[in-house]
């Protein structure tokens, strides 16, 4: 009997016992679904991690914070720069503020990034200069944008280099120093040209001033240089220019209430390790100095631990349900053999060989497996997407970026179907053999 006839024969029989077939296939679906969702999320996560490896700056970046009593000042920065395994270190100076461009007003974070860091990263190919130039150390009135930041300023489809030379304003809030409430703030030295945009009396009776920084766009780069903005919407300015503003930057309610300002001391530093493999060693060296070094690797390994648990759970569920599904197939087909003993006898009397009969039943098993597999892939996709939603909801609560953890490559689809059919064939082996061995004389007597 050729394949197509065997298939037609199998379909007509499965169609007769529709409920039984559907239930059995559903069992296969649950098993395959659990397994494919597991592999899908596992693959997706791995893909994300591999992608992150391409963004070497993200992976080698370490954010350093003091534990207690340690002061991060310029001397500390110099010391850390000389640590083995460290590529570069600089104070993390960020200013939240309002970016004004044409009629656009956007809340953005201005980052003081040393010119040498930008230059070194462009030279080593970690980031790419798309347009314009790199600013000089201490150069005033200039700003560099990441391509993402440029995109957000430009109308749809406009070339980034049209932004070069355009002026943008950046308004930052300045906290009053303690005991200086009544004094009108003057811009720190070297920034006399900055107009003081306004003064506000706060509820606490202190004054908050706003300073507007007028800058010109000189360069646009592609890629992420630091961890500061995970979305890559970066605005960079030479640190020397904003350091004076930074010491009075309004960072929190605490700043407003205490009037505490930073003087020559930084809340955090940014370190780039030589390479990914050095990150752990550098973190250890920082710990010895009473510093905490946070790396994205910590979060990745945290995420991975979570997935190992989830994958283990899904693997056990998938394995158990596939086993149960296999038993269901055995049961379904043994029932079919019993019900159709007479028919098997007749087929044999018409000239069916044992192999023919076996093929008929294995075809039925394969068809159940195929449908179960298709259902399993759908189920697996759904579970993977739900896992993804849940994971991203958690990331969002933790303030992390959104990532797509689901991967459904072709090999997973084909592999899932093949596995479903394979398991079904294995389960169908015993009933099919039993069918093949039916004695036609006995079978026909009871037909």
């Amino acid at each position: 009997m050729i394949g197509r006839d065997a298939l037609g024969y199998a379909f007509s029989h499965l169609g007769k016992a529709r409920l039984r077939t559907i239930l059995t296939a559903a069992g296969v679906s649950i098993g395959i679904g659990a397994m494919t969702s597991m592999v899908s999320v596992g693959t997706g996560t791995q893909r994300r991690v591999l992608q992150a490896f391409n963004e070497e700056n993200l992976l080698t970046a370490i954010t350093v914070r003091p534990d207690s009593g340690i002061i991060l000042d310029d001397a500390a920065v110099e010391e850390l720069r000389r640590l083995p395994g460290v590529r570069d270190a600089w104070p993390q100076i960020t200013l939240p503020g309002l970016l004004l461009f044409d009629s656009e007003r956007t809340l953005r974070t201005l980052e003081g990034l040393p010119a040498r860091v930008v230059a070194e990263q462009v030279a080593s190919g970690r980031i790419t200069l798309v347009a314009g130039r790199i600013y000089e150390a201490g150069e005033e009135g200039v700003i560099m944008l990441s391509a993402r930041a440029a995109e957000s300023l430009l109308p749809e489809g406009a070339a980034p280099d049209t932004l070069l030379g355009r002026r943008v304003s950046f308004v930052v809030a300045q906290a009053p120093g303690s005991g200086e409430e009544e004094r009108e703030l003057t811009p720190p030295g070297g920034l006399e040209s900055l107009p003081i945009a306004g003064m506000l009396r706060t509820l606490t009776g202190r004054f908050i001033s706003s300073v507007t920084l007028e800058v010109q766009i000189v360069g646009i780069v592609e890629g992420q240089a630091t961890l500061t903005d995970m979305l890559g919407v970066s605005l960079w300015i030479p640190p020397a220019v904003i350091e004076p503003l930074y010491s009075r930057a309004l960072r929190s309610l605490e700043t407003v209430l205490t009037g505490e300002i930073y003087g020559g001391e930084y809340p955090s530093l940014q370190i780039l390790a030589e390479d990914v493999l050095q990150v752990r060693a550098v973190q250890d060296r920082l710990r010895q100095r009473g510093l905490r070094g946070a790396s994205i690797l910590d979060q990745i390994s945290e995420i991975r631990t979570g997935f190992v648990i989830l994958n283990g759970f899904l693997a056990v569920l998938g394995g158990v349900s596939l086993f149960v599904a296999a038993m269901m197939i055995v049961n379904t087909l043994v029932m079919a053999v019993l019900e159709r003993t007479g028919e098997i006898g007749l087929l044999k009397s018409l000239g069916a060989s044992n192999a023919d009969v076996m093929r008929l039943f294995l075809t039925e098993a394969a068809v159940i497996g195929l449908f179960g597999g298709i259902g399993g892939l759908v189920l697996g996709k759904v579970v993977a997407e739900i896992t993804n939603l849940f994971a991203n909801w958690q990331f969002q609560r933790a303030g992390e970026i959104q990532v797509d953890l689901v991967a459904f490559p072709l090999w997973l689809i084909l592999g899932g179907l093949l596995f479903a059919v394979g398991v079904s064939l294995a389960a169908g082996w015993y009933p099919a053999r039993r069918a093949a061995r039916v004695d036609p004389v006995v079978a026909l007597r009871h037909y």
């Binding site: 009997m1 050729i2 006839d5 024969y9 007509s12 007769k16 007479g342 028919e343 007749l346 087929l347 044999k348 009397s349 018409l350 000239g351 069916a352 060989s353 044992n354 192999a355 023919d356 036609p440 004389v441 026909l444 037909y447």
Partner: protein, 206 residues
Amino acid sequence: MDGLDLEIDPGELFAVVGTSGSGKTTLLNLIGGLDTPSSGSIAVMGRELGALDERQLALYRRTTVAIIFQAFHLLPERTALENIELPLMLQNVPAAERRRRAEEVLERVGLANRADHVPSELSGGEQQRVAIARALIKQPRLLLADEPTGNLDSRTSREILELIAGLNREDGFTIVLVSHDETAMEQIADRLIRLSDGRAIEERTL
């Protein structure tokens, strides 16, 4: 079977009579290649059935011999035409040719107008005609019939026996016909044996 020795000639209509349990069906199963003898031998067209392995025996059943059963043994969910096509499906005959040949043999048994009916929509006589057509479609060298009229009323029985006799006379099929109706057998058969406890206790040429 006990010490049975007989030879059936090509083109013969050979009748086997006897009471239930006399070994008639066992004899047919042996000739039909469904059962194998524990001792002794059966040769069909010079081929020793005992020497065939399972696959060769299946091939023998698929091509050389055909059996008509008392209870028709039609697949209930398939139409007359589909039932008739089954043996050709096992022979890997293409669907179009299967259909054409099935229609031909259905015509031969006088049921062309019932082609698309399932067995439950057919009378007993019609079902047996379908079963006969299913046997004929193989164009077997040897046609075996096991009490083909056992489930039918006397009028229908006569019609079916006439059909079978016609297959022998007009189409030249070699037929072994098992029945307990000796009178009817005497009318149509060329030769007759009576079985009792697996032995031939009487052999007559008619």
